[in-house]
Symmetry: C2
Subunit: 427 residues, 2 copies
């Protein structure tokens, strides 16, 4: 029998996007790394297990960040005055260059992981750089922290600065090395195939990566239709393809294995159809899409078409690792999208956005982001007593207040896969 314990408090989560499930002053039983169940009163069979009483605190699933760039952490809040392609050249590539240096990488990556922890993100899909060794380092640091992540060595063999480019052959070789070494090294930290995006990958490289994804059965993450200039450039590079998505698809990088495409701001109808059919995940990164003047992704259309969506911080295009901030930003974006579309496609509700930030993105990790039986137990204990309440608030209202005006100070305890996660070490 695996270790069991119960936690007690005000449990709230989203089984479905439409509404919050609330259990006031209830029990959640954990067995090993899984949720066993939630109970109004503790069943007899559990009467001898340890109970951790969080009293009046709110208990929510840990947040899932479906898209971020660890090496861009030093640029957080800087360089947000350009669109994507110039932004990459001016601010991002020069920073990513530095990650050939392990001691620099260790400093930044450990701080990045600590910040994820601070804001209650228990699962993350992360881009590193093209550098093999510091990508491994990032995975080791994640494993040390206890947080769960997919980490991708970035592949880029064209249209990139001389100081940040690899040959097609080296790109494939280094990727294989990581897949061989890391696919089974850790339970909670896994490699993911990560072509940067079509503009910086030859088709030969994309095809090679598609083959690796099949061979090693590992997932894929990349960028799709983020910004106007990027799409124009892709069209120029591949005039024979009818759209951006079909290039990835032709390389077997579009849903042949579980796939996340970040942004999808400007996808066309055919692409939406393909995303839906191939079960491609969308990482919605509205902060970044605002900051780099990309636009607002049509998330309601995606959801209506049955496409899986999660939320991403996309630092440092996005400026905040806080998924509370990301939820609020996405709520605002969906209001404006609704106006843009002449009041079609109703705005996303907070329960829908909370779902995207937990169970929606969590689906990419398996059974993650909910307190249903059999889900991995990722949780945050929220003490909202510092947030003014001048009247009795429901648990749902308290959660909304936390999302809109709370911050890391309100997160008292974090759990990932059944274990309490202490503050990660900063090197």
């Amino acid at each position: 029998m695996q270790d069991r314990y119960a936690i007690k408090g005000n449990i709230i989560f989203t089984k479905t996007p439409e509404r919050f499930e609330v259990l006031e002053n209830g029990y959640l039983v954990v067995e090993g790394k899984f949720v066993k169940g939630i109970y109004r009163s503790l069943p007899n069979e559990f009467r001898k297990i340890k109970i951790i009483d969080y009293e009046n605190a709110i208990i929510i699933p840990g947040f899932v960040d479906l898209h971020s760039h660890a090496p861009q952490f030093p640029n957080l809040g800087l360089g947000l005055d350009k669109e994507l392609m110039n932004w990459l050249q001016t601010y991002t590539f020069p920073e990513e260059f530095k990650y050939s240096n392990s001691s620099y990488a260790k400093k930044v990556y450990s701080a990045f992981i600590k910040e994820l922890w601070r804001f209650g993100t228990t699962r993350a899909c992360v881009f590193s750089t093209l550098h093999k060794n510091t990508t491994k380092l990032l995975m080791d640091l994640f494993a040390e922290s206890g947080l769960s992540a997919y980490v991708g060595k970035v592949n880029m063999d064209r249209n990139s600065p001389e100081y940040l480019i690899e040959t097609t052959k080296a790109s494939i070789k280094d990727t294989i090395e990581i897949l061989e070494e890391y696919s089974n090294k850790y339970e909670l930290v896994k490699p993911i195939i990560t072509p940067r995006f079509v503009p910086s990958c030859t088709f030969q490289l994309l095809k090679g990566l598609g083959n690796l994804a099949q061979k090693y059965d590992v997932p894929v993450q990349s960028h799709l239709c983020e910004n106007y200039d990027e799409i124009s450039f892709v069209k120029k590079l591949h005039p024979d393809y009818k759209n951006y998505s079909s290039i990835y698809n032709d390389a077997r990088l579009f849903g042949d294995v579980p796939t996340i495409m970040a942004h999808c701001v400007l996808v066309d109808e055919d692409e939406i159809e393909l995303m839906s059919r191939k079960k491609v995940f969308v990482a919605h990164c509205s902060n970044s899409n605002y900051n780099l003047s990309s636009g607002i992704a049509p998330i309601r259309s995606f959801i209506t078409r049955g496409i899986s969506v999660g939320l991403g911080s996309d630092i440092s295009g996005g400026h905040s690792l806080s998924m509370m901030n990301v939820i609020v930003n996405a709520a605002q974006a969906s209001n404006i999208k609704w106006l843009e579309k002449g009041r079609a496609d109703k705005p996303l509700s907070i329960s829908e956005l909370f779902y995207l930030a937990t169970k929606g993105g969590g689906k990419f990790f398996g059974k993650v982001g909910s307190f249903e039986e059999g889900y991995e137990f990722d949780a945050l204990i929220i003490d909202d007593s510092s947030l003014y309440a001048f009247k009795p608030l429901s648990i749902e209202e308290r959660l909304k207040k936390f999302i809109y005006i709370g911050d890391d100070r309100n997160i008292k305890v974090r759990y990932a896969a059944g274990k309490k996660i202490e503050e990660p070490r900063c090197y």
Copy 2:
């Protein structure tokens, strides 16, 4: 000779919107409540004055919040799922009703002021409710805090719930009482004429208030063209007027005295012309305009036309009292506006937005929001050492990081009108 002292640190502010003025490791001399000057090294004439050395900290002007509703503070982060008119009926009016109760008002208002302080807002234009006594209380609490504010008793004599409406006569009478009692009571806290908006004020009331504004020479604040349904309603109420602004204008509430109009999301060309000619201030509240699905105000057009603009938190339509948050949100809004307009009207830069949040809004208070000679000395001492910097950053970059990823924890000291402001008391 008035009291003089100097503070030392990394001084940064905006004299003009286009760029930051930076004085690294410089001196700022304060004389009474005014800035005497900034100096690379301390001139001989000041060699005997007290120097407060803030070492590596950044010194910026205090923030100016040009539009907020103190009684809506308890609703912060709640009820953001409706557009303006339904939002008022469902969430806002029932809360504002409570401010007939002085002890409730004292609790909320003192917490509201403490939060302004916490986030570094040293000047605020604030709506209370229609209640005379608790409006006075709010002014007294502001005076006690040392922060500076214009506070307006709200006027509303039609189209409002039975529990939150006044007669035209009582509305005028109570306003006069406050003007008589408070116009000269405090140096830093002043009354301001505050018709809620056209839908809730008869024209007779508006005209009466216009007369009071003239007679007592006090400024005016109200709302203008915030949301689509609101404007439709105003058109129905006043079919003879060519637009919303002309109703205020006809009542002498549109720039005949200094006037702030909040929102101005949907003003037409004639209205922009009138706003420009009558020197009406715009309080730009993008957070609120996002949250209530109102749209994005054409701020670049306003600025190009010479209209004065400041930023407003507009709580609780806006969800954050942090002017750092408001700046970031307004930056994102201006990026999307730029896209909406087919890449016309270039986005607002961070120096422009910082200017709006300090000197731009500060202009409504006189010489406020800058460190030029003769400006009232409002300042924040920013310790950004908790914000990761992995490379040497310029003072301007450090300020940007603070705005994008810092919070109240980074604000170590606040000054308003020459005086250090301690944490206000919470009742």
